[in-house]
Amino acid sequence: MSAVRSLEPWRWIGVPMLQVLGVTILFGIPLRIWGLQLPEPVFPMAAVFAWGVIRPSVIAPAAIVLMGLLLDVFWGGPFGLWALCLLVAYGVVLASRSMISGQGRAALWGFYAVVTALAFGVGVIVAGVKDKNLPGLIPLAWQYLATIVLYPFANRLIEMFEDADVRFR
């Protein structure tokens, strides 16, 4: 990016949050094409990863909780499940920010895959404890793959805002 953009919260947190929630609702419509359903990736994961890389923030955790709760309400899952999974992912990115910032695209994509796996692992544990029943590996793998291919969107968000605040370069 040539021009450095200002880092106002509504720009790097508010707008991406609305975008990922909008796409999630769009993918939630009951549509089948030749008998196949649309995939159901966790769109907010891309935004959460990018927020952690761009800079630490106090607003981001609140936005993540809100986004996770809206996901749970929309998908009808246990209330708080996705808030917890996304927060764990954000916490890990935040803790290892000094290590991953400045890395290349492939390395970041790999780290995004690891963080996503961790979030899904938390989801499996929660489902196992709450429902006393573990989700199947195949549906887990499908949603995981559909989520990690979203990294280019996270990368775009990182490129847009990572140089906006010189204190956190």
């Binding site: 419509i29 917890l84 927060l87 803790a95 489902a127 709450k130």
Partner: protein, 412 residues
């Protein structure tokens, strides 16, 4: 005192640490929300107002968003119908020929069935009213498999109602609001439905795992199921009626028995909500529990009726019942001896306060009975906790919680 003047005014906290603390607080809040969540409960209020309002908003939005898909599908169907009318006509004629033979068989069986029912005096289940609804949103991930249908409380939909497509069972209602209801699919990890194998009557629990083919768990007996067996609902537990088609049994890649759902044959765009109420929900439990005690047989010795109103303080207690232990032992225990009130009985009498009946007040008749209970009493005492109470007469002692104090002596 302004912030600048305060001792903490110049305090600088690293933003990373502040963000870390915010994450920790948010994680605690998320865990608290998770612990309090009861989405698969049968209690309507457990669904929560937040979810109710969100569903109310989401239902019209999802309906509008899915409209283009529906219109496209309808258009494709029209074009297909036009181009494939001849082949479809041929297929339908063949189907009609086969169905005509089945109709004769069905009519004969219906007649025979009606005669058997008349002979046996069998009371069959009442017809189940249904409500049609359109599915407007669809969640299909590994952690949540639910759908939002655009029929709600205004149409009589209740939590627990089974939901079917034209091919088979889809799931059950877990949340209802005005204009929308949330359906928990059979494939959700929280879904556990009692089913049976049509061929062998073997029972199992159909457990979802987020995938398209839920597992058959708790199968008993030797080879209770084989590939291709039809799976239907067993009706055990009274939430879902017996005999609804669920699917076909198959052996999964992991070696477990799974079910290919009948409802997956075609897109689930329209569903039927069965406004099903089990016999235990329809029956008036209070009326059953408050039946009159039958009059005593003429000439037989029995316990004298206890006074309904407790005597005034200081008044002389009423005379004890003139029953000898030997006489009491010859009586049916269920009619004379009190027994502990089970959980099901308490639930059946919501108006009563279970804790107000003190142990001492339910003792009097037992005090006049022999220490060793007759065989029938021993059987009733072994009834499992939570078992439904028999519709028989109620013990006199329980009907008289304020019995005279002379009857409160411990049994000897």
């Amino acid at each position: 005192m302004s912030l600048r003047e305060s001792p903490f005014g110049e305090l600088k906290v690293p933003l990373t640490w502040t963000a870390g603390v915010a994450v920790a607080v948010a994680i605690v809040a998320a865990i608290a929300l998770l612990v309090s969540d009861r989405r698969d409960s049968f209690r309507a209020e457990a669904y929560g107002a937040t979810r109710g309002v969100a569903d109310q908003v989401l239902a019209p939005a999802g309906d509008a968003l899915s409209a283009p898909g529906r219109w496209t599908g309808a258009g494709i169907d029209t074009i297909k119908g036009y181009f494939f009318a001849v082949s479809e006509n041929r297929r339908l004629k063949a189907d009609l020929k086969e169905m005509s033979q089945w109709r004769d068989v069905a009519l004969a069986l219906r007649n025979e069935n009606a005669r058997y029912r008349t002979l046996l005096g069998l009371k069959t289940d009442p017809p189940i009213p249904m409500v049609a609804a359109r599915v407007v949103t669809d969640a299909r991930g590994p952690f949540a498999n639910t759908r939002l249908a655009n029929a709600g409380r205004e149409k009589g939909v209740k939590v627990g109602n089974p939901v079917m497509s034209e091919n088979g069972l889809v799931g059950r209602i877990i949340g209802v609001t005005e204009g929308a209801s949330r359906v928990l699919l059979l494939t959700d990890t929280a879904s556990k439905v009692p089913v049976m194998i049509d061929r062998t009557n073997a029972r199992a629990i159909l457990t979802g795992d987020g995938g398209p083919n839920p597992k058959l768990e708790y199968l008993r007996g030797e080879s209770p199921v084989k590939e291709g067996d039809r799976v239907i609902t067993s009706g055990d537990g009274g939430v879902i009626p017996r005999g609804l088609p669920v699917g076909t049994a198959v052996r999964g890649l992991d070696g477990r028995w799974r079910v290919v759902l009948a409802s997956d044959k075609s897109p689930i765009d329209f569903v039927r909500v069965l406004l099903f109420q089990d016999f235990t929900q329809l029956v008036n439990q209070r009326e059953l529990a408050e039946r009159e005690v039958p009059p005593p047989t003429a000439g037989a010795l029995t316990i004298a009726p206890q006074p309904a109103v407790p005597p005034a303080i200081g008044a002389k207690p009423a005379a004890p019942p003139a029953v000898k232990p030997a006489d009491a032992a010859s009586k049916p225990a269920a009619a004379s001896a009190p027994r502990p009130v089970s959980g099901a009985e308490k639930a059946a009498r919501p108006g009563e306060k279970p804790s107000t009946v003190k142990p001492s007040t339910v003792k009097p008749a037992a005090a006049k009975l022999p220490a060793k209970p007759p065989p029938s009493k021993a059987v009733s005492a072994k009834a499992p906790v939570g078992a439904k109470s028999p519709a028989g007469p109620k013990p006199a002692a329980r009907a008289e919680p304020n019995a005279p104090s002379d009857a409160e002596e411990p049994p000897t």
